[in-house]
Symmetry: D2
Subunit: 348 residues, 4 copies
């Protein structure tokens, strides 16, 4: 980082900042300019927050120059992470488009999930998603089937060969969910539930981390860093819409440009969830298609056998017929997209 | 609109609200429910703001049920507006993708603009854009060449046959800009400059209205309504990114889902500007391509013969070679997109 | 809620919606207006989400008319909640201003916390705050002393008689934190960590719930509802700044108007944290003073014996001398504020 | 500014950036650190945007170190601006609290405005506000009385001795409004209408500039800079609430912390408008009182003789009796606030 001293800073103040930085393990380089003095500091920033330096006397401003995400960033890890599952499915890098689909909540009758799973499988998707533990804004809404839901997911996997994804909401539930599922999802409201991030970081199943509702790119990648730091290298980033000033016609704002931004900054695979992002069925197909062209490695789509009867998120779920049509288009679009030449001169 | 009365509202309060509504020209319908009374009111809402009713005694809430944009909305005007230019170019409806490209600011040496215009023309784009009057956050930045810039645009049109677009910033400049240009652009900072909206509404040239930085969908369409209301039916809506909580890696957030939202609510053509939305060159191609799949009728792209020397917005401008490659891809992508079947059941 | 049917809705569609509502336990009332039909529905909304109705054929819009927070809301609980602690301190209703103060993080040397606690006590504040479990955006920042920190808090309570507040970050840590502390704090990043909300709702210690960074008023009160619903009636709401488009000169935007909004909608006590809201020491005194006039029941202030050496949030912490001066002013301001007449006609 | 070169930057790239900076009139200072090279550049930044440097090869990042507002900033103008009116009223610096009050829109019957003006005068306020030109989101809402409204304002000034404030919406109306009024107001939607800013900057009447709905502190002060740059030194800054993710219970979010931020960065007087910021009458008194403690030099309040009949903004207008009570409290609060000691050590 660079410490810019005030024009009026005394030599004593300059030395005092430099001394403090050295004590914190930084190498420093003082540059006396015509107008002001600048201190460069290089180091690990393990135990320091820039704020405490910022409030020292004579300091005008601290300018960070390195991104704080070391393991999630491309600098130390230039090659794309590709996650391989036991059945041969891969996500990330130059693997083809992966689709995760299923109902928002798993419901009591297992046949419902099986019907959906069969269509998901036939359509060519790779993952079945379904919520067993449901984060609900209101305590009066359906809270999920818990372990009974996980069992349905495992049965559907048995039946179809699909990989299964489910949301885990609390550090205590991590082992249970990891037993039943292939990918653990961290929901948007838990993106900075650091105990949960640590818990999923200490087990082996890949983790799909959804972006927090108002998480900056840095915060998003630092949340991934918490998981990577615990030893789990298989993190998938998922853009699912951000909070904005206007929720009248869309539930959130789908920030598609974050896909190429993340792919530039990080080596991790990136998935887009147009269902939660938009909240309206008619917006899902165009946004799913657009996501392919933004460079997404995967899509997460909500599908329900009868959206009008869904216990949650019915308005944004595709029905089985619609989902089939969307998948047909996605296959063509993905193939077309892969056929385009990548122009080196457009990537920077 | 619907007026929901409080549970404790007296009959006198109910009648008083109904009387006020009738005096304002509404037809009313009182519905006494088990729990509360509801008053339906149908009318033009010309001289009334719901707020003044909302503060009457006994009133709990006012619920609007009709969108306030009448002329911009699809209800009264179900067919897509298609704008036709003298040279046969059309925008809107099922016309093909239209591209508007050029430098952010017009610079002193006309040869610079001509070089860009020649490449824009060869690439197959239809419009040359260029700023003669520049809205600048700081008074110390370059403010534009004014009429000399407009003349360059007209010369470039003469030379290439391209249509030309420029931003008009003040009601007094409308006639001048309309003399020289084919489309008048209203910039994001002027989306609610109502005097300017009126002025462009009272002349004949088509108007491209950029969405305000934090304009809701309703405010955007009501700004278009101001123009339509003055008699100018040729309004193009332009999404150019909205303000968000994170401006670190993108200048704004490109809200691509607004494209299908606008196309559902309104009959007006919709253009996307990925250059201003993202602020970074490497993000322009994927977002331009994604915009085609969101359903945009057109794209606005910044191109410069030497972006490092641009007087404004260099970092987001493509150079001439990059622009050529982007256009080649766009032609393929647009043709492919038009070849996909539109599934009726996915449109609602 | 009110279901507004489309102008074109058929009688069959209307009946189908009414039938579905009845099946879900609602009483309904159909009102055929001149222009459109409206269905009123009264009930508990336990198992239903409005979205699934919204996507039924013929439905134009669903208009909710009752706030979803039943236990947190004033309608069912008109009297202010006043929380009483064993040492006689009260918060809420017409109790005087309560101050919670202390360092962001508890550090290794207990003497540091004791020095701060002594000054906090002498100044007339009622609560000592201090973080033992720290939510940190980066895994490389100091993560807290955990139980050793809680022990320090308990020792400081012993020494000074102050009540102690600490943040709990995970459902598994709730019993431990509840053993040592008088108030459990839920941090902004965990406002919708529903498992944690349930866990603190099932124990007896009062809970201070911080508003999520981009939580709406409804989401904030529904998060409180989750706690209340589990049986814990002692919830304190804390405004601590919201995320905005500009973080250059303040860390967040302090939304002081939420104080009178919450006091109107809810019976729960409201506390303001100007330290986290602003992120800069010089902004803490004016915002603390302003918060008193917004109607806050309490303030949470960061104090450190040497802010330049703080392990976290140094830039926003007052030093001991500054804190003493702020408390002197707050006592005068609070007394003056209580002396003003409350004008009934200004409260609605 | 500081240009941070990439770790991999060549000496040629470094020299090329330095050369470009010198050509643009900057003095440069190159500092070769252990890890990377940094170029300091000091100068006026008149014709340059940092973006064009940022996209040069080898450049990692540009770090601005000086605020771009020179005339609005305190560095070059440390003493508070105090604006003096012909009748002896002053605003800014250590002058007492100033109140501007009146209806949102001026209505046809002049007696209405006179009734309000009489009460405003008696209450001890200094300014009468009233809208003659109304910026309206919808073309179907009341657009204002225009010159007839200005005449009413002038008559009310004659009658009461109050100074009058009105909004000017277009550069062409500036001379007319300046003829009739004592302060010209620039509305939130026109904060970046640069032609209008120039026009009010070229005449003599003080200008009250309202903050744009999503304007950053820098953009706000740069808008003021546009006015100052034209020669008009009398600019008043007005915080009126910013756009946020939640408009359910308040119209906007009142950002009171901007008051001490602006007073630190700038010498210009700062006014707060709690009526537009909150949109609800019951929130106006607590927020007006809180604004005094944030350090505001003045308040702008909406008052109407019968808010239920107001042509605009009725829900946020105080009636005459309420306004009288609010003013009584404000006088006490302002006197009390001025009586508090200013502690030097709390100001930084």
């Amino acid at each position: 980082m660079i410490i810019v001293m005030q024009v009026t800073a005394t030599e004593e103040q300059i030395q005092s900042v430099a001394t403090r930085l050295k004590a914190l393990g930084f190498r420093t380089h003082i540059s006396h300019g015509d107008v002001m003095t600048i201190i460069g500091a290089v180091g690990d920033k393990h135990l320091i927050e820039t704020e405490s330096i910022e409030s020292m006397e004579g300091v005008k401003q601290i300018l960070p120059i390195q991104e704080p995400f070391k393991m999630a960033g491309r600098e130390a890890h230039p090659k794309d992470t590709v996650i391989r599952f036991s059945n041969g499915v891969t996500i990330g890098g130059d693997s083809g488009l992966v689709v995760m689909a299923g109902p928002c909540s798993i419901e009591e009758d297992p046949q419902h999930l099986f019907n959906i799973a069969d269509v998901v499988k036939e359509s060519g998707a790779q993952f079945l998603r379904g919520g067993a533990f449901k984060p609900r804004t209101s305590p009066y809404d359906f809270q999920g089937l818990e372990e009974a839901g996980l069992k349905q997911l495992a049965d559907a996997r048995e039946r179809t060969g699909l990989l299964v994804v489910t949301e885990v909401m609390d550090s205590q539930e991590v082992p249970l969910c990891a037993d039943y599922c292939d990918v653990l999802q961290i929901g948007t409201r838990n993106m900075q539930n650091f105990k949960l991030l640590k818990a999923v970081g200490r087990q082996d199943k890949p983790v799909m981390l959804k972006r927090g509702m108002s998480a900056s790119v840095r915060e998003f990648l630092l949340a991934a860093e918490h998981i990577l730091y615990q030893g789990n290298e298989n993190v998938i980033l998922c853009e699912r819409g951000i909070r904005s000033f206007d929720g009248t016609f869309t539930r959130n704002v789908l920030d598609l440009a974050i896909v190429p931004v993340l792919r530039k900054l990080s080596h991790l695979p990136v998935v887009v969830d147009p269902s939660h992002a938009t909240g309206h069925r008619y917006l899902v197909p165009p946004m799913a298609n657009a996501a392919v062209f933004s460079g997404a490695h995967g899509l997460m789509l909500e599908v329900h056998y009868d959206p009008d009867k869904a216990l949650s998120d019915g308005a944004q779920s595709l029905n089985l017929k619609q989902f089939g049509l969307v998948m047909e288009d996605l296959k063509k679009i993905s193939a077309f997209h892969r056929g385009l030449t990548r122009h080196e001169c457009l990537l920077h």
